[in-house]
Structures are given as C-alpha cells and as structure tokens.
C-alpha cells in the first residue's frame, strides 16, 4: 500500500487552509451548515424588511421596487442558500456515518460543490448594490418580468443560478454514489436509516430537475441578449412556456426541500418515543411515491394561467393523490409515538411541531389543489401562508431538530437544554403568530408581493409582523446555543440519547475526524 494511503488518518489541518482545502465530509458538512445559517440570517433580514413595510397600510419604509427586490431575494436566498445547503450539510455529516463509510464517495468534488456556493451567492447578493438594483421579479422569475422588463442584473442572477445548479448536481451525484457504493457490508438498502433513503431519492430529484432549471434560465438569457423568442408570443413563443418549464423544476424542488426533513423526523421520533419507527417499509415506498408524483403535478401552480380544462383536471387529481403517501407518513409518525415512552427534549419538540404544523401546511395545500377553489386563492396571502407553513415549521424546524439532535455528536458536548427549549417555544409561538393570520388575509383577498394593502387587512398584518419579529429575533438564540455547545458544556457520551439507534451513535462524541476507515462490525447494523 502506498504511503499516501496510510497517512490520511491524522487530524485536520491547521488554520484557514483546513476549511478552504478540506476533503473531509465532516468539515464540508460544517461549512455547508454555517453557510446555510449565514444565508438564513440574510434572507431573514430581507423578510424583516418585508414585514416592517407591511406592519401598517401605506408606504412607510421602502419604495415598491425595493420591496420587490426584497421578496425576490428573500425567496431565492432562503430556498437556494438556506434550506438546500442545510440539508446537504446534514447529508455530508451524517450519511457516511450512518452507512459506515469512510467518507463521501468523491471527496474532492465534495469540496468543489460547497465552495461554488459562496461565490454564487456573493454574485447574487452583489446585485443589491448595483445601479440597476437586485432582481425584482419574484423568486419564481416569471417571463416577461424576468426578460423584457428585467433589470440588467438579471444576467448575474442567471449565471448565479447556473453555478449553484452545478454545485447541486455535483453534490447529488456524490450523495448517490456514496449511498449506492459505500455502504458497509451488511447495510442492505432496506436497513438504511430513513434519512439516507430520503436523501437518495432527493438527490435523484435534484439531478433530474436542476438541469431543467439551467435550461429555463438559459432560454431567458437568450431571450434577453440574443433576441430569441421562447417567451415572447410575437415570435411564436409563449410566456406560459416559461411557467411550465420553471414548475417542472419547481415542483420537484419543493419536495427536495421536504423529503430530507421526513428523514430527519423519522430518525428523531423513534429515539424519543423509545420505539422502533412504525412502518419503515411503507415510509420508503411513500417517499418514492411522493418523488414520482412530484414530476406530474407541476401545473397546479398555474391553474389560473388559462390551461385547457383537461389539463386543469389532470393536475388537480394528480396533486390530490400526493395526500395519500403523505398521509401514510404522518400516520406512521403518530403511530410511532403511540404508547411510546416519550420525553420532550428540544429535538423532539421541534419534530412534533413539525408533524403538526407540516400537516397543516399540507391541508392548505390540498385546498389549493382544488382547481375552482384555487381560482380564488391564487396569488393571495393564503398561498404565502401555505408554503411558509410547509417550509418554516416544516423544513426549517426539521433542520433545527436535526441540529439539536446531532449537535452533541458533532461537538462532543451537550447543548444548553434550557436555551434550546426557549428557542423552540419562542419559534413555535412566533411562527404561528407570523403565518396563521396570513390564511385569513389571503381568504379575504389580500394579494401577495404588494407593499401596500387595503385598510381592512391592517389588524392581521400588524399581528403577523409582530410574530415575524419575534420569530426572527428568536433565531439568534440558536446561534448562542451552537456557539456555547462548540465551546464546551457537559460531556456527551457516544450514545448521547438513550433511545437512539444507528451507526452514528456507535462512534465517540465528538465523532473522530475519520470514522469507519474500516467498516463497522456487521452485528452493529440492525433493521430499522
């Protein structure tokens, strides 16, 4: 065996070069998570600007064009900068440890996947300081707002999307190769933890749809700079074509942001209910079904655009079908808790809140799926309430649950449980004050993405804004908890949680820099 092979078991390099040049999945996982948190605060700041402007009717703080830039940048930063990288960071940290692999399959490419992101988001954020202002056409960047009428910074937006797409594709290839090729002997597919399963399917979705996003922004680029007419009916194209291609990417994308969350919750609930996960097999099949269905429901985002009636019907029924596998999942989580010996540490609180609040977001989704009803709800605050319920107390809560759950494994110390619970309760109360009234606003007809509103919407708006400020400020507690936990605290055991199962709990806390350089004892691998 060559020398280069044998000497890779030492610890991390010193100084900044450790982070710039690392090939270690744990380092890269940490980079992703910190980057995601930074973007979460940046996108959150934009959200605070939006809620501050909407605190009262009338135009107080920002001009309408800047308001549009805020809604656009908030959405883009949160989706591509906060939620997705957080899940990739968790995948990096946990998947190799969960399947007993020494690292990710392609460690150098792993580093590249990460380091593209800061550059991409620097370029995107820099548009705020350019003369033409940041993109102002909404995170869904519908043509012709994003082509004919776009500020010239749209060009940088397009290239930022291109390179973050390249990052996502490389990251996903790495995750699939790791899961399919790097499992320890005895780790059969149906013994994999659900977090691994959900990420396998998510990575497949990413590879399938990120190139379609690249395709649609490329068509925009050519419409803007080279005179093509993809989205211009005067040349035989169609702005609606943009929406079809975008949502063919966009709908799987929303499942990309929720499937790993399912995996996290499926890990946490059995631990704190001290029972095995109910219906493991059906969880796997439900995840796969949701992924499949995600490809044939995209036009439910476009019911009011003027599709043929057959299309409206097809997309309505296909969308409703998703409730079935999702219902299976919710049932299984509840059944796992049923008669469990439950305790309510911070990860479990976030996980339970996830089950309840995500289900609510799911129900409003079902309402929106009904085509004739959607004619009423479309582009109102009801839609905003719906997708924020699935994304904030859904995806974001699951990420926080995951951080609290695995933080002792990462740092070797227990986090401050009191502060954790405080963070949870303030977030839980804040998020509901923030988004619940938006259902009423939407049903009463308040349109989204408008900086001013009619007087009858005033009360619910200030309530929502107060909730927003509460939720936003509470997130700083998470920062304090994490920094405290990195610095020290009560030593964590390898097991950390009494009821935790899986290979990641068989290694020390903090996890050694290199784990499973030789595969674990197959006897440690249990059915889920």
């Amino acid at each position: 065996m060559s020398a280069a092979h044998d000497d890779h078991h030492h610890g991390p390099a010193k100084g900044i070069s450790r982070w710039l040049f690392t090939t270690n999945h744990k380092d890269i996982g940490s980079l992703y998570l910190w980057f995601s948190f930074a973007m979460f605060l940046l996108g959150g700041t934009f959200a605070m600007v939006i809620r501050a402007e909407l605190f009262q009717p009338g135009l107080q703080l920002v001009d309408p064009n800047f308001f549009n830039q805020m809604t656009t940048m908030h959405g883009l930063i949160m989706v591509f900068g906060a939620v997705m990288p957080a899940f990739v960071g968790l995948a990096n940290w946990m998947i190799p440890m969960m399947i007993g692999a020494p690292d990710m399959a392609l460690p150098r490419m792993n580093n590249w996947s990460f380091w593209i992101l800061p550059f991409a988001f620097a370029m995107l954020s820099a548009t705020l300081f350019m003369e033409a202002g940041a993109p102002n056409f909404g995170w869904t960047f519908y043509a012709p707002l994003s082509t004919t009428y776009a500020p010239e910074t749209v060009t940088f937006f397009i290239f930022a999307v291109h390179i973050m797409g390249a990052s996502s594709i490389m990251g996903s290839i790495n995750i699939i190769a790791t899961i399919l090729n790097m499992r320890a002997p005895g780790m059969t597919l149906m013994k994999m933890p659900l977090f691994v399963w959900t990420w396998l399917i998510t990575a497949y979705l990413l590879i399938a749809v990120m190139p379609v996003l690249a395709g649609v922004v490329t068509m925009m680029l050519f419409d803007i700079h080279f005179g093509t007419s993809f989205f211009n009916a005067a040349g035989g194209g169609d702005p609606v074509l943009f929406q079809h291609v975008f949502w063919f990417f966009g709908h799987p994308e929303v499942y990309i942001m929720i499937l790993p969350a399912f995996g996290i919750v499926s890990a946490i609930i059995p631990t704190f209910a001290r029972k095995r996960l109910f219906g493991y097999d059906s969880m796997v099949y439900a995840t796969a079904s949701i992924a499949f269905l995600s490809f044939i429901v995209w036009a439910h985002h476009m019911f009011t655009v003027g599709m043929p009636i057959a299309g409206e019907l097809f997309f309505m029924y296909a969308t409703m079908l998703i409730a079935v596998p999702t219902g299976v999942k919710v049932f299984n989580w509840v059944a796992t808790m049923f008669r469990g010996s439950m305790t309510f540490e911070t990860p479990m609180l976030f996980a339970i809140a996830f089950v309840v609040l995500f289900t609510m977001g799911g129900f409003t989704g079902l309402m929106l799926a009904i085509t004739p009803a959607d004619f009423q709800y479309h582009d109102t605050y009801f839609v905003v309430a719906h997708f924020h319920y699935v994304l904030v107390p859904g995806a974001v809560f699951s990420i926080m649950a995951a951080v609290y759950y695995w933080l002792p494994k990462w740092t070797g110390y227990m986090y401050d449980e009191t502060l954790g619970k405080l963070h949870f309760w303030l977030s839980f109360i804040g998020v509901n004050i923030l988004f619940f009234p938006q259902h009423f606003l939407g049903l009463a007809g308040m349109p989204r993405r408008i900086p001013d509103y009619a007087l009858q919407f005033a009360d619910f708006n200030w309530i929502s804004s107060v909730g927003g400020f509460l939720f936003g400020a509470s997130q700083l507690i998470l920062l304090v908890v994490v920094i405290k936990c990195v610095k020290g605290g009560k030593k964590a055991t390898a097991q950390v949680w009494e009821g935790a199962q899986g290979l990641e709990w068989t290694v020390d806390s903090p996890a050694p820099y290199h784990t499973f350089a030789t595969p674990p004892d197959p006897k440690l691998i249990h059915a889920q």
Binding site: M1, S2, A4, H8, S17, F21, T23, A101, D103, A105, L106, P107, R108, M109, W112, W115, I116, F119, M123, E152, T155, F159, A160, H162, I163, A166, S172, I173, N174, I176, A177, L180, N181, M182, I207, A208, V209, M210, P211, V212, G215, F222, I224, G227, T228, S229, A233, A234, G235, G236, G237, D238, H244, V245, F248, G306, P308, H514, A517, T518
Partner: protein, 308 residues
C-alpha cells in the same frame, strides 16, 4: 493491489487546493461573461469584462487539467480500489443523466410550441381568441416561416426540415449525412473499445483517430449548415421561435459534440501514451459513454427538428 478487499482500502484524498481555485475560476468565468453581455447590451466597452472571463476560464481549465492528471496519476499508482472505481462509474452515469434532463428542457420547449403555443396563436381551440385579436392574419405552421409579429422578429425564408421524402433529396441533405457521420463514429468508438480490450493498441489508436476525425467533420458540417441557415435561409436566433428552438437545440448539441470530441482526442493521446489496460480504462469508457449519449441526442434532434 486489485486483490485487496473492496471495502477496506477506499482512498480518501488529502486536502487539496484544486476545488477552491476551480471555484474562483468558475466564478470569474461567469461573472466576466455576464458583464460582457451587459456591456454589449448597453453599448459599453467589454474589453475588461472579456479579460476577466478569459482569465477565469484559463484558471478553470488549468485546474481541471491538474485535477484529471492527479486522478490519472493516483490510478497508475494503484491507489484506486475497485470500490473507488465504481464511484467514478456512478458519477459519470449520473452526470450523463443530468445532461439528458438538460436537453429534455429544450425538447420540451420544442414540443410545447409546436403542439400548443403556435396553434393557439393561430386561433385554434378556446385559447385561440387571444391570437385572433392580437394577430388576426397569423396562420399556424411548422416550420414557422411567418412570425406573428414580423416587425419584431424577422421571418425566415424557409425551414431546415425535410421537404420531400425521396432518395435524391436525402443524398443532398446535409443533416442526413451528419446523422450518418455521428452514428458511424459511435460504431468506430466501439471498435476502438473492442481493440482496447483485445490489447490491440494499434487498432485502438487507429479507431480513435477515425472517431475524432468524424467528430471534427460533424462539427465542420454543422458550422457550414449554420452559415447556410444565416445566409440563405434567413434562420437566425432572432427570427422567431423556429430559429430559437433550432439554434438552441442544435447549438447545445454541437457544444456537447465539441466537448465529446475533445474528450475523445484526450483519450487518443492517452492511448498513444499507453495509459489504458484491458481491465482498467474507465477514462476511456466514460468518454465513450458520453459520445454515445451525444449520438442518441442527435438522433432525437434529427427526428424532431429535421424529419418531422
């Protein structure tokens, strides 16, 4: 070395400067390119932006060259276990799948405009009223020779697709010959692979040379076709949706052929250097898979852009 257990020798590389600098290169490339496009649009000098983009691209190319060299060197040093090699196989396979989906977006756009938007603008179905009001004179057709608004998008003179189904027509039809060339090149790459596995290095080099030559010939003819399209047919990027779909589909395909030819050329050089063994030549296989993929995309293009 190959006999080592597949699970206990996975090579996890040391920390490396390559990807970080590749990110800088990639960033400068796209930032520069975006600035060039914006400069041109606002009629400003694009010299500085062009230099940034080129510098970024050179940095990226240099890093990728180093990166691939490192991987090849590691393989020759016997550091890559069978399991690691399978990771590369998965990596390439899923990369090609992502490319398939990239083309799917443009094929999807083609099908959509042909099936829906152009007929609707022509007044078909219950969506037709908009088209009737906006452009009552417009008649749906494919290839779209008369655009809905010809003052915004100049009309092409005629389409590129097959106009008559006869042997004499196909004998003079350039896309047909390009199809023949590309399919032949797929076969010659396969012959090269067979020769490689039979340890026939001379045959390998010869067939690889033929494959690269066919790739270059395809690109030359494609370039010739573009000149024809712009010069004689009046089909340009800004001549409406026919030109848009035609140039983006064939153009991105041509770009991929360029990349594929480049890969094959590298494999030719590596064959001459004797890099490949009958049981260990994944670089070659990856390039050949890519080439077959490019070929399959062309067949799709030939059917839906040229034939029907």
């Amino acid at each position: 070395m190959a006999s080592a257990g597949s699970h206990d020798t996975y090579y996890v590389p040391e920390q490396t400067k390559l990807p970080f600098f590749a990110s800088i290169g990639l960033f400068l490339t796209v930032y520069g390119l975006g600035s060039v496009l914006n400069d041109v649009k606002s009629s400003e000098s694009a010299t500085f932006s062009t230099m940034i983009s080129l510098a970024g691209f050179m940095l990226l190319s240099f890093i990728l060259f180093q990166w691939f060299s490192t991987v090849i060197r590691e393989n020759h040093a016997g550091m890559n276990s069978d399991q690691l090699k399978r990771s590369y196989v998965w990596g390439m396979a899923w990369f090609i799948f992502s490319e398939v989906m990239f083309f799917a977006a443009f094929f999807g756009a083609l099908f959509y405009v042909r099936t829906f938007s152009v007929p609707w603008i022509g007044g078909e179905g219950d969506k037709g009223i908009t088209g009737d009001i906006l452009w009552p004179e417009f008649e749906a057709a494919w290839p779209l020779i008369v655009n809905p608004d010809s003052s915004l998008f100049s009309n092409p003179h005629e389409g590129m697709s097959v106009s008559e189904w006869s042997l004499s027509f196909f004998a003079k039809y350039l896309p047909f010959w390009n199809t023949v060339i590309l399919i032949t090149s797929s076969v010659t790459v396969h012959f090269a692979h067979t020769a490689l596995k039979a340890e026939n290095r001379k045959g390998l080099i010869q067939w690889m040379f033929v494959s690269v030559a066919l790739g270059v010939l395809f690109l030359f003819l494609q370039g010739f076709e573009y000149v024809e399209a712009y010069g004689h047919y009046g089909i340009t990027l800004d001549s409406g949706i026919y030109g848009s779909t035609f140039f983006l589909l064939t153009g991105f395909h041509g770009f991929h052929v360029t990349l594929g030819t480049f890969m094959l050329a590298i494999m030719l050089v590596r064959s001459i250097k004797g890099h490949f063994k009958p049981d260990d030549h994944f670089g070659f296989e990856a390039a050949s898979w890519y080439w077959h993929f490019v070929d399959v995309v062309w067949v799709g293009l030939f059917i839906f852009v040229y034939l029907f």
